[in-house]
């Protein structure tokens, strides 16, 4: 039993039921819902489904449901809903035709609709048979059994240029011959030339007495570097003093040395006298 069958009919045993006077034998396992059952019953009327008597069909269905009840078979809710609907339809079909309340379709219209649904299911079943009967790939017709794959050929090109070649040659040769040429590490010494250049650039800003130690380059302010910077700056200042470019002043040995621009003009009155003088 397939899952589908189990869903709709799992309450049923494989039982045969006598459905009507014509001793129509219906096996009930394997119906796919009330519509499927109705279609089977309609088929057994052996007339064109388009002209089937819905009244007769309704009676057959209701008989079927009755016999199932007699056999104490529990019918799926779907089947009982359909039975109720068909009983209602049957009662209306035997009554004189009249519009139902609230524009409800007439019994004939309801019957036509049911007939059409049966026809449509029948037609779709036929279509599915035709579809599955087609020549199917790998069952009836076959493609190339040994297809020849597309070969991907990698077209490899190289980006290396003359520049790369010469760089490689030079670095390779030089490395073998002892690496790079000698470049001694610079000692932490401020060159006198550099100190003098610096001082000359600062002349404009030291028109007044400034402590030599405040003129040191910022980055030379600590430890051995500072000592070197002080020494070089002093020597540079002495040189410049000899050239008349700066004036120097020191109150006592080891005291702070003051520097000022030597070109500031002859003894202008100055508010700032030499501190500590």
């Amino acid at each position: 039993m397939t899952a589908e069958q189990a869903e709709t009919f799992d309450e049923f045993q494989s039982t045969a039921l006598v459905a009507d006077d014509e001793a129509l034998l219906i096996t009930v396992d394997g119906f796919e819902g009330p519509l499927d059952l109705l279609l089977t019953l309609a088929r057994n009327q052996k007339v064109d489904i388009a002209k089937i008597s819905i009244l007769k069909l309704a009676e057959q269905y209701l008989e079927f449901v009755e016999s199932a009840k007699k056999l104490n078979l529990e019918l799926a809710a779907d089947y009982l809903v359909m039975a109720a609907w068909l009983a209602y339809l049957k009662s209306r079909l035997i009554l004189p035709q009249e519009k139902g309340p609230d524009g409800e379709p007439t019994a004939d219209e309801m019957a036509t609709r049911l007939r059409w649904r049966l026809q449509r299911l029948d037609a779709m079943r036929a279509a599915s048979t035709r579809l599955m009967g087609r020549e199917r790939l790998d069952r009836d017709v076959f493609g190339r059994g040994d297809p020849e794959p597309i070969n991907i050929v990698k077209l490899r090109t190289y980006k290396d240029t003359m520049y790369d070649l010469l760089t490689a040659y030079a670095t390779d040769r030089v490395r073998k011959l002892g690496g790079k040429s000698y470049r001694p590490q610079m000692a932490p010494v401020l060159a006198i030339e550099e100190a003098r250049e610096r001082l000359e650039r600062m002349l404009g800003r030291i028109s007044d007495w400034s402590a030599l130690t405040t003129l040191l380059p910022f980055e030379w302010s600590g430890g051995a570097r500072r000592r070197s910077a002080v020494a070089s700056t002093l020597l540079a200042a002495l040189e410049m003093a000899r050239d008349g470019k700066v004036e120097l002043q020191q109150a006592s040995p080891f005291a702070e040395i003051y520097v000022r621009d030597g070109q500031r003009g002859p003894d202008l009155p100055s508010e700032a006298s030499a501190p500590g003088a």
Partner: protein, 236 residues
């Protein structure tokens, strides 16, 4: 003249007749199309063939010629899903037939559902249930999706925005269909109004289409799912 030779002579006559109508095709181009289609494991479309052929080659014309050359042979050129593929002639199925593996044998419900989807697409689960008159069991749609014959094609612009199903290219390839417009008996079903949701009385016959329907939105897998009631039989 042997019967084989007669067969070939017949092909020749056909090709002569053909050639009168059209520009003579380059026989080298014909060989190329033949080689490409023979070598490929998948159907090829005109565009794919064109990229491999010299510029200006009349691929459509070449395919026509090739189709005729192979018409009576053990191998035929077939158009499936708008693409071309060599396949063994269907009348030789007895020679080559292979049993499908057991697990691929579909239930009656799945087969019927596949037919309904292919003829009625795009179609919702509720519509399928209405046609079959029974609620769909788990495993029917999933199995067809797993095989790759159906796909979710969109959402209907109706309350609840139910997803719609349609068939795939693999379906067309499997069943040897050029397009879903070539489904067997489609025109009769359409004319009889069986592809409609309501009985015929002054209705429009739509073409089944694997395009999105006018009342459909593309499928967005992130859209939250809403409860779609199963077909209600008393409404029928």
């Amino acid at each position: 003249m042997s019967s084989v030779a007669k067969m070939i002579a017949k092909i020749e006559d056909q090709m002569d007749a053909e050639s009168d109508d059209k520009q003579a095709e380059n026989p080298e181009h014909l060989r190329m199309v033949e080689a490409l289609l023979f070598a490929a494991s998948e159907p090829l479309d005109i565009k794919a063939l064109s990229t491999s052929l010299p510029e200006g080659a009349d691929v459509a014309g070449l395919l026509n010629t090739l189709e005729e050359v192979y018409e009576k042979r053990g191998v035929n050129l077939c158009c499936v899903a708008g693409k071309y593929q060599f396949r063994t002639a269907s009348d030789l199925a007895f020679l080559l037939r292979k049993e499908q593996p057991e697990q691929k044998r579909l239930s009656k419900a799945a087969i019927e559902t596949l037919a309904i989807i292919s003829y009625h697409q795009p179609v919702t689960r509720a519509e399928i249930e209405d046609i079959r008159g029974v609620a769909m069991s788990k495993g029917t749609i999933d199995i067809l999706m797993e095989i790759g014959w159906i796909k979710i094609s969109g959402r209907k612009r109706t309350p609840g925005r139910p997803v719609t199903y349609g068939t795939t290219e693999a379906f067309l390839v499997q069943f040897g269909l050029e397009s879903i417009g070539h489904l067997p008996g489609l025109d009769e079903l359409k004319a009889a109004g069986f592809l409609e949701a309501i009985p015929p009385s002054g209705f429009d016959v739509p073409n089944p289409s694997d395009e999105l329907g006018a009342d459909e939105d593309p499928y967005d897998p992130n859209e939250p799912e809403m409860a779609t009631g199963s077909a209600n039989l008393d409404e029928a």
